[in-house]
Symmetry: D3
């Protein structure tokens, strides 16, 4: 049973920064959840820096304690959790970098361990989905983000943090009929942009509507769409308003508070998630208070809690 170092014995500011002060372990025997970093940010179209997302989230996650009072579950202590290290990447070469991610995630997926990735720009999710779909077949996608990331191409090339879910559909990694995107907002290229979601078979709830839904309603809607099959939850930190989460590459103002964002994630119980990620944390754009990394660490913690809740029931 791997669990975090005891914060009442040695203060939380001590020791090398692993996720949530978990042991750094690559042997998956007996492991329930593996958290890994995916420090690639070569595909971002505006501010880079998400390669330091894993470092930032590791640092902020030292604050986490084992028990989640909102979900009434031990996030640590019943599940065996580890820091599984980072996938390598190759600056300048997106296909090579995605291949490194597949290689890193594949053994986790093969071992039936639940993986939680910490990006990196959103293109890393394509690598994760390639590894997970190879093990589990096409996944239902639950996607919280301010952008849909289904554009066709940027600058004449197919891979990019704004095109990956179109690629994932084309590659058969996700099943659009079991997928739901939510939180989209901000200016677009034209009136046809929102139509693309339906053309690809995806359901999409823009922020203007999600803002008026309760977390419980959102949870019901997701469960109805995703069903009992294997699923993946991807959380782009720019879903959260940039006042709460400034440290990201393509911020869109006018979004949810951190409280609202956490409540939406907490509502996603009773879904068979085989993997999760939190992406687009670029710590250089945070102030000294590390607020974005703190939110990301808490989102990761709520993902863990969803796994723990499912095991408990």
């Amino acid at each position: 049973m791997h669990e975090p170092a005891d914060a009442l014995a040695a203060p939380r500011y001590t020791g090398p920064r692993t996720f949530a002060r978990l042991p750094a372990v690559t042997d998956l025997t007996g492991v329930d959840v593996a958290i890994y970093g995916l420090p690639w940010d070569g595909a971002t179209t505006m501010r880079p820096g998400a390669r330091f997302g894993p470092e930032g989230v590791r640092s902020a996650s030292a604050m986490l304690r084992p028990y989640n009072p909102v979900q009434d579950v031990m996030a640590f202590g019943n599940l065996s959790c580890v820091d599984y290290g980072d996938a390598p990447s190759v600056p300048g070469y997106i296909e090579d970098s995605l291949a490194r991610i597949v290689e890193h995630v594949a053994p986790v997926a093969a071992a039936g361990v639940v993986g939680i990735g910490v990006g990196g720009d959103h293109s890393v999710t394509l690598g994760e989905l390639r590894a997970l779909a190879a093990a589990h077949g096409p996944l239902g996608l639950v996607h919280l983000d301010s952008h849909g990331d289904i554009w066709d191409s940027y600058f004449g090339r197919p891979l990019n943090h704004g095109t990956l879910f179109r690629r994932a559909i084309e590659e058969g990694l996700i099943d659009p009929a079991r997928s739901l995107q939510a939180g989209m907002r901000g200016s677009l290229y034209g009136p046809g942009d929102y139509a693309m979601h339906a053309e690809l078979g995806l359901e999409m709830i823009p922020w203007q509507r999600l803002a008026r839904m309760s977390p419980a309603d959102y949870g019901d809607r997701v469960r109805a769409r995703v069903g009992d099959g294997a699923a993946f939850l991807t959380f782009d930190i720019d879903f959260v308003d940039p006042s709460y989460a400034p440290a990201t590459g393509t911020p869109e103002v006018g979004g949810p508070t951190s409280f609202e964002a956490l409540e939406f994630v907490r509502a996603l119980t009773d879904i068979d998630f085989r993997g999760f990620d939190v992406v687009e944390v670029a710590p250089a754009y945070d102030g000294p208070g590390q607020q974005t990394s703190l939110i990301a660490a808490n989102v990761l913690y709520e993902m863990l809690s969803l796994v723990a809740l499912r095991r408990k029931r």
Copy 2:
């Protein structure tokens, strides 16, 4: 037809920073909207730095795309928009600086082009109003701010970012009977401060009340007050809560989120605005995430959208 550089051809981080990547043009032929900077901050009573507001907003506005899905309108593409450059100013000399602003804005007003100013401290609005009233007569003022800016004098002198609307009324530039201020909050000099609004013939909704109104109600109230005549919308960034918009000179805590602020602006349809401004952005007080400038750029974008909507109808 002037429009922004194509973000799918060259990434948005390329090129000199003009507003929204628009061409820098001073020939007003065929132009619908001219955006200009008003980098004067000599009249601020606390933190200076709004002279760099235009630079900050230009930088953040690179993120804007042409289509506004909330208003269902092309903000760019149907309107011909340009970056009209900045008014000069004379550090230490407020009257000279206001004269430079009048000189810069007057040709825009005379050509019937809608102008959007980016401040600069709020005193720049007095310059804009002098130019606009010369062309269009007294204007109805729509004012979102945490301060009323109608004090009589500071330190024995008449011009200042806290006195300008009293001056504008005295000079006949705005018509108080067609004007409405909203969002006022924060500590005051005495119980008589709020009475001054009525004494000047202005309507005022403090934030404590606006917080409980819907954007639609606010829009109705403004339309009822302003009527069909020519109007001006001035948006002081300190209307927004300083957690969202820290980069300003005289922040007042406990205000609206950026989402709420944008919704109030979006409600201001069907008004004959001849000019707009966004003022008091002082980028040195932002964190590295540029969040205040991002909000200001989006407010400017909503102003453009109001113009586009009116043309469309």
Copy 3:
């Protein structure tokens, strides 16, 4: 009658920074309220730096004006208020440091002057309570915070910013039956953590519930609990969401906005507060906009307003 320097005569950015530009005075004759700094941060379990809280709050409080329009009361001008300076502290020695705080606060308590402390980490409150209980007997505690601070010990030692209210109960400084804690949130050590409040005789409202209460309901609940006896209001700045108040030692995401936080404080009328404090402001973790210190200064101002309101009635 001590009051702030006149902001219409000399701008608010002038002069040494005292709280709210009040005179720095240690003679308590005729004084109604004494504001003092308690710059000790040796007991914090994560980020230190709250020793600079008094400096940060003094700087930000220059923005305060005398009249509070929400409470319709002169916060300054009717009450005689002073900056009473700071308690010394002894880095590395918590007992010595608490003794210095007791020594600093005792004459204020003895003179019947209302004291407002500005921390410092939360352990300073133990020093204040020792001084106040000596003068007034056990106090009802009104506590807004994201943590309950009633753990038994950290690292084998009894005094710490997370254990002080257990110590205060053991020492008979506060009366748990007249005390109410609210705002608690974030991960915990185990499911038993929340049970400890009841075991100690305290009432506790976690943030998940407080978020759904109105300020008026909260005020009623506090008045019902505290009754007519002497009381103390302690406000840990980490009660506020870290997007609003990043400059603190142990932030917990997903909390109230500054507007909500101020409204909860404003609701605490008609209580016989003998002292107040605002703690855990660590300015090094603020961005350049000083937003946390601004909130703290405004909380302090609302405390002053509560005193002024009570005198007025």
Copy 4:
């Protein structure tokens, strides 16, 4: 005898920030040196913010201890020193602001007290010189800066932080024949710029030459030029390289280190300085380490030491 609070009794991070923790006193009886702030920055041609220079320097000066080992003199303890508060200013009105400075400094000059001003942009020196010359006649100017500040006008107006010494000569406040400027560097408007110094009767040593002189040689050269008459030392913080002193309005790269800068000031013994100032500290442009304010506080301390040395001999 006024001296700083004892740092071995109460830590230096305690108490309202006065210069060097000196008492805030406006009664000049028995005072040797009065330190005052001159928070006016309306005349700066690039980055504003020097109005917060006095706050920044007060904060950093808490680090100063009484004994200067390089000069072997007690800077505090033998001289009676006070924090004399700040001159008011009037944002937007340079002539009014200079008048307020004259009013603030005149009593100090009249009392024969040595004044040390902390700016503020360099135009404040014109106010100081007006007050000092009224009391003492034309002064010899010792000027360390990266700019000569003798341009004729900016934007058609005479007063500005780049024109003040030309004005001071025209007004007969300084005697160019007893004045020496040093440290000038950076790009200029044309080859004639450096000729202007001689035309005005000033001696000028550019940084390219000063960099190759020893501090002792510089001191000799100054003494030879200034002679026995009354003199004034003005230190623009942009004399120091912007890596050392980034927090200033018009930085010029490629200048002296802080060690070199202090050594040049230390060399200025045996001159009859009637006043001093340190100007152009704009703290918003410092990093969190406050390095520019620290240097400014130490320059101020070396000025004090020059006074103490002269009294001692």
Copy 5:
């Protein structure tokens, strides 16, 4: 004759930020020097962000005035200089991005205009060299940097900001026999690393030796090596010590001051430079004082001055 906007007419903080306030022009008729941005940073092995280098340098270069007193030459005014805009780039695809750079620079090279590139990570230089060598044949390389950038490959792939000069030699773009690298320092992979320079036919002066050479000696050494042929000067900002220039991707402590760095560049007179660049400026890692961008702008200015000097002679 294109030259900067007049800083005595409109303050330097006005207008969209072009390099040195030059006109943004793409017609090369009559142009002597074209300055362009190369905002690609996908090949960096540590901190990304140099894609914002052109924005940062444009902003800081507003401080530049026309006359260079150290070189006694008008940098602007005799030469016709323009801001030629930025090369596009394709995030994630290094070969595509280099092709875009070649396309952007080729017309400049073909027109015989001297180009000054502003990076971007150092791999952009490979694109520039491809364009220049096509027009002028193999170039002599003058290289100031803390790294030699001649490793063979990183992570199994050939293109990267640490391998480009090996590629440039292999491609015949530079002539190692006419090339000199200087400034190398910091830890290495093994004792053979420095031998690689000689193996490739390059001359290399590590910082430990350059620190003890005068700028004049360095200039002589370069002239002796480069001879009369066409040459290229590349300046990696990490040549400068990271205290002076923190805003870069792979800083190495213990390097030259900005004064020393400028003096080395100034010594490079009488060389037939056909192109220049300043690379690896990543503004997100600067403090608020923009010191790295200021240095980069001044290096660019010294490059311009070298061109102007050569024309003058």
Copy 6:
């Protein structure tokens, strides 16, 4: 043989941050050097935050490569080096915290492994010396710092980051006759302060003199003083000028550059160091470029190189 992760296989920004990407190991078998963090900062008299020194230095040390070209030695690869984790500490209790440090360091000392501590405030060195002297007897102290840290007491209590070497002498942990302090500068409490060094039997070279010595002379002087016995090298980061190293608690302006500081450390060959430390790194006071942590990581690397050199000879 423990050595860093290969930076040519996985980029240096990957993986949890251990010192220099070394394995995190607590089994000392076959280990030559153990690097550990000592995150205690409760004894600092000004800015706290050095408890995050180990995190900051671990992060910056990712940049280190194995070969030191100045010393011509493999710092990694021949020596077996590990990250030995951090000593716990007890906020508020200095004696408890020192005991935890002794407990952490004692097994390293007992095993004959060379330890390198990363502070923490300077009081941690007292813990290290207690552990080392128990194993090796009294040590010769080589001390680079801007302060001597031999005051008798602060605020009436004996332990503090300014008193520790007096305590170490009293406890017989260091042999003053074999000890040399250098770099002292900044203002003092009185003319007697420097005399205390001699009274305690210590040799001391103030910065004013060290600045004029060559590194080689300094090395000779140290070797002559320390002799062949066991020694300890303590490096307070405030030895370096605060422009280079702003992230520290009690900065003193006017000190050495990072280049000079490294050269002084490199000169300390041929001494039998049994332990080392780098202290007083408080990352919250760094800018985003992490320059202080970078210097600290490089000082640590030079210490490692001294060990490697001694083994090699």
